[in-house]
Amino acid sequence: MSSSSSQSFIGRCLNSRSFLVGGVITLFLLTCAAVSLFWTPGTIDISIKTRFLPPSADHWFGTDQFGRDVVSMLMTGTQNSITVGVVAVSIGLFAGVALGLLASAQRGWTEELIMRMSDFSFAFPAILSAIMITAILGPGGVNSIIAIGIYNVPVFARLTRGSANAIWAREYVMAARASGKNKFRITIEHVLPNILSILIVQATIQFAIAILAEAALSYLGLGTQPPHPSWGRMLNEAQTLMFLQPMQAVYPGAAIALAVFGLNLLGDGLRDVLDPRLSRKR
């Protein structure tokens, strides 16, 4: 039994088509971001002489209205999206999980306070609250990350508290209490490891949402500021040229769609691979 269950983890990874496809897409994006740190096929400097060049061997997707190479813009934009995703999800994950675990361990008015506060923040749509936060802090890359991160906090707080409450009701938690462990130790040793897979899956999905939110904020001019390339701002710049150069909008749009699609698939795949209830059936 032991050999089959340890071997089947990798087996399950390979069996899950969404995990494979999502993983490959995500890996591809990560590679693009990493490569763009030291090499891009063209340049992202403005040069009016080369504007609106058609796709060629030098410029695979052509150039935009400022003469910048579109592929290079997209690749550099990946850096931006991934940074936003990682940092914003980490903010949400750490703060939200901590709050959720606290709510679940303390119960009573602590739980009530944390949960009502997250209900309150849920009342505002994600983009709207992000716009509000950037309006207060001022537009910019860092502030958009903070805004998206703050939006993520109640999502994780709620999920953590719900799944942690289910673990607290388990017999092994009662057994742990009977062996003299305090709430903090039980939370770290019993509750957290048992909800980790749920959190990982949710983090992947929030990552996709964060990329989308960053694109939206940049599109509105509240996110990443020029000259740093961003998919959202590329969309915005392409908007005015919609009928002259429609492909200018298609490239960043496709990049956003691909990233979100890949991360969502990866999330679904991870759920198949990590969910103990599904894995126990196999």
Binding site: M1, S2, S5, R107, G108, R170, E171, Y172, M174, A175, A176, R177, A178, S179, G180, K181, N182, R185, E189, H190, P193, N194, P276, R280
Partner: protein, 284 residues
Amino acid sequence: MTALALMGLLPENASTTGSVNLDGENLLQKSEAEMCRVRGNKMAMIFQEPMTSLNPVHTVGRQIMEPLRLHKGLSKSSAMQEAIRLLDRVGIPNPAERVSNYPHQLSGGQRQRVMIALALSCSPDVLIADEPTTALDVTIQDQILELIQTLVQEEGMSLVLISHDLGVIAENTDNVIVMYGGTVVESGKTDHIFDQLTHPYTQGLFAAMPKVGMGRGKRLTTIPGTVPDLINLPSGCTFTDRCPLASDICAGNIPPVNQMEGSHLVTCHHLQQAVSARSKGLYE
């Protein structure tokens, strides 16, 4: 519930009155932090459900090591040695290898043995076993009880055994408390009670036991009615609704505690009738 109250593990909205004395200290007056030092150290508990009482994400060895490191401050390696010794003690074959198994790799009986090892880890003074064999099949039940019994004698612990199984109680205990609807209805030395069943509920429990040679097709004796709603317990004797001896006085008045021989106590309004009904059988 009573067991959880003893450990101070009731849900936070519950209130406990009276006192729980261990080594001359009232546990109810202790703070949560102080109780954490008592639980698992001086008092330990074996649960009803071995299948779900172990954390699926940790190895059994790690789970046995935890209280050792917590209460005794053992180092990782000496806690590991101790965990292996304990697994061996509770009769798990090949303990050095089993120690790195996850709970799902063990059978129900083995898991209950692990739970016992866990409870024993800090050699507690009091061991509470809450229906430790309910989830196990009969042969394993016997092994587990025998194991608990030997360990209790060898380690000099007190055992609080909670069970519905009268055979288990007769074999494993010195004193019995019969509880119904959250109240004590009869208590005393095990031998006394088994000799002189008095309270109508205790008599009913014994009557409901299947008897060898009863003949096929005969129905088992039951106590009529169902357990009262624990939220709205009857104001007088909790057994009133189901008791064949019940009269008007039972419904509204808390029954008196009658002393029988020695320490044998019976809580009933109709003691004389109950005593004389012994021979006839109250539930025929």
